[in-house]
Amino acid sequence: MLEWKPEILRRLAPLKLSPAREGEIAEEIAQHLEDRYHELLVTGQSEDAAFRTAIDELKGEDLLARSLLAVENDLYREPVALGKGSSNLFAGILQDIHYAFRMMRKSPGFTAVAVLTLALGIGANTAIFSLINAIILRSLPVKDPQHLVLFQWESDKWPPHFSMTGWKSRFSFSYEEFREFSAQKNVMSSVFALAPLGFNDQDTTVGINGEPTLADGVMVTGQYFSGLGVTPLLGRGITDADEKPGAPRAVVISYAYWTRRFARDPSIIGESVTLNGIPFTIVGVTPRDFYGISVGTEPDLWVAFDDKPNMRPWSKPPGGTDSVFTERDWLCLNIMGRLKDGVTREQAQGALDAVFHQFVTADWHPPKESDIPHFILAPGGQGLPVVQDYTAQPIYLLMVAVGLLLLIACANVATLLLARANSRTKEISVRLAIGASRSRLIGQLLTESALMSALGGLLGLVFANWGTQALIALISRANNGTMILDAGTDSRVLFFTFLVAMLVGVLLGLAPALRASKADLLSAMKDNASAVSDPRNKHRLGESLIVAQVAASVVLMIGAGLFVRTLTNFESHNFGFDQRNLLTFGLAPTRAGYHDARLVNLYTQLLDRIQALPGVRAATLIENAPFSGWSSKNSSVSVEGSAQNPSNSEMYWQGVGPDFFSTMGIPIVLGRGIQRTDTAASPKVAVVDEIFTKKYFPAENPIGHRFSLSSKYDPANSYEIVGVVRPAELTDVNPGVHPKGYASYAQFPKTLGQMFFEVRAEGPPATIVSELRNAVHQTDASLPLIGLKTQAEETSEALSFQRLFARLTTIFGLLALLLAMIGLYGMIAYAVTRKTHEIGIRMALGAKPTNILGMVLRQGITLTLIGVAFGVVATLGATRLISSMIFGVSPYDPLTFVAVAAILSIVALLACYIPARRAMKVDPMVALRYE
């Protein structure tokens, strides 16, 4: 064929057509000219003349281009030549997305696995983030929360005579201080304070139509509602007028309580109820989303601050001379406020600190100026941190766990994408060859992974929604149903998910994109039979991804293992008393008007009645039921005759009833237990445990010695030791080594409030429940039973947080294992497919199937073992962080480490075995034909 094409191409050049189109036109016209040329030769023309006549068909230099211009440029839409540079950025992106969808549709199985994997990873992260958002980040649902401030103090030493009550002493102040802060009207537009009405949850008896029920009550000062900027849904809030002496007693109820107890009766305002026996009028209902000032808690009702019997903060029993309003050294209030317009937090802090300093140093002069506590005005938009303090560490730990899980998911999908990118090398080389720019190609591949992760993110939101609901239900159960959270998906959660999904998309796309765009055109287009001479480093990336996945799963699984062992250790732990067939319930007779001797009489009478019930073996009393959430009192202790008290001389002690040790199954080692004869009229006696005697009487018999609960021995208020018992854990599930003591409750009736009954049944405790209720009801119908349950249930509930944590980390650990194994399986299976040719040659040369099996398994196991090694090293560094959360097991527990490594290796062997078996069955003849 003559050289027609250069002539034609020169004429087509001004049109700037795509290379493909240009080539097509040139070929067709060249064919035409060639035909014409041969025809002219046949008619007898010379070759030279024929050539010139044929070329003349092109009619000059520019006619062809002009005629084609209208057709090719305006009307002609180029076929999608992917990766080709486009002047229109947006059109390019649309084209990329369109193409990405097409690629995903082409391999639905791959897409489904990748999107599901990503959805799991992103969903788990979104769920945990929703919790962090709900508990730690979200502001109170009130007006302008950013202007709220929280009063707080900080100190190494605190005036020793001050006593504190509350969740967090650093947020506690006395009413006197509150009054002085309130006077600072130049910096604060309002200051308000609050304290719980009861000492325990559900510690207020509400009489509705004469029937006693339990509720959570809060006492607030007059500016609580106006300061927070909360407008009640119905009626009004508590105001300054309600605090005036003699004002009619008013109660505001929560939306949830209104729903639960009054079926949202709109005519509830003005109705009467009794609180701890005192008549109140319902004056308001709070809005639906208002939960007070502490996320995770939700009071049922609010009343004005008061100091009357049965109507004092923290169920404080009557006694002492001062009232709550004037007692300078009882820090029982939490204080918040709203800054005055134009005043900064720093300015207000300066003014309030002066007030605080004056108050503290009024009757206390520490030797060092630095011992004086100083005042902090913290941002109050998130309210008082109650739940945050004990949930923050576990939640952040869970966030780390799901972060690892997401990394594994990413590595997994990246491995899949890499494998696919290898099989797409040819496609990409062709695109590069026809003029695609590398940047456009990278963009294209990134679009594909971004689309995949966006789909994963969307599905992840659905998973996260379920996950968050389940988590909140679990957490609420772990807190006896008292933790109320709203962890809905808000804009912050959506933004987080979007960010994570985009990050994942870029991470995923980057490796295959960079690799693919480096493709060597020639070699890639020439062949795909790279099986025999596979350059080692070509799979380095894929292999390191597998190693990373295995390592991350090791970290998660060892973490899970340690928490599971913590849980089993707790469950099998001997707490020092017998939990079998033990029932517990509380009573708060002081709210029904029982005090002093009458109170002790009631308890004695009830004990007699219960002990006489059929099916009851024994019954006794204790101030705080084991694991009820409240620890016993801790107090300084000083022993008579001992010149120097051991350092840290503290003991836990509480009042118990007669027969306490025999009923609970705590062995008495020396002397006697608390008896019925230990009353207010008899000498004060105490029983101590062996930890106490080891510390204070290492060499002598402690019976007959005396001690007092004060930092200096006080003979007037001393107790005589009458017995020694084995140590028992009656406070909470984190056993300490504190000495413990028990006194007869009947010897200090003035300070008695709520007490718990411990009843040992002959058989299953359920059989005596109704008998117990009747016994209490017949004694006094106005006394509600508080928290009736078996002691085993109570202990199990106290463990529910540990159980929840063990369960969650196990789920995450198993998910991680599953993902890593899918990744390993995928990689080995892919390698086997690629190596079919090589395997065929080896077998043709005499390799036995077992050699092949060994070869494939070796690759998988080597990667797994490297991953395990990295994982173990990383875990050794990380378990330190959880050492405070595990119990009875070392953070370097060899059993857990070895077990996890073994499980992982065995599962990895299985994951490799399936493709390895396939490799073993390769038919050399078929394999050698295989390209």
Partner: protein, 114 residues
């Protein structure tokens, strides 16, 4: 309108019709089409390369023709054009139009000359 311009317009209008009718019976390649036009018109109508192929491409873009590379044994591959369903409809209506036009012209000229 000068003579050359009117000739060009006339040719343009009829060229589409000529090409469509030539590929009606069977697919043909570009050179074959140009040869047939030249032969059947006795050499009075001729398309050179620079106008034939742009025209073919335009008809293809409009969806009246469909071009396809065909490889026959022992030959270089050629692009063959066949009439599409839409092209068939267009051809029918153009033929009808031409027919009516010719009949109309004849009537006028016959009446004048009678």
């Amino acid at each position: 309108m000068d003579q050359t311009a009117s000739q060009v317009e006339w040719k343009k209008g009829s060229a589409e019709l000529l090409i469509l009718s030539l590929v009606e019976a069977r697919p043909r390649h570009g050179y074959e089409i140009s040869k047939l036009i030249e032969q059947r018109s006795g050499g009075t109508v001729r398309f050179h390369v620079a106008s034939l192929y742009p025209l073919l491409y335009r008809l293809e873009r409009r969806g009246w023709l469909c071009g396809r590379w065909v490889e026959k044994s022992g030959q270089r591959r050629r692009r063959y054009y066949r009439l599409t369903r839409q092209g068939r409809k267009v051809l029918a209506s153009q033929l009808r139009g031409w027919h009516e036009f010719v009949v109309g012209i004849n009537r006028i000229t016959e009446a004048e000359n009678a």
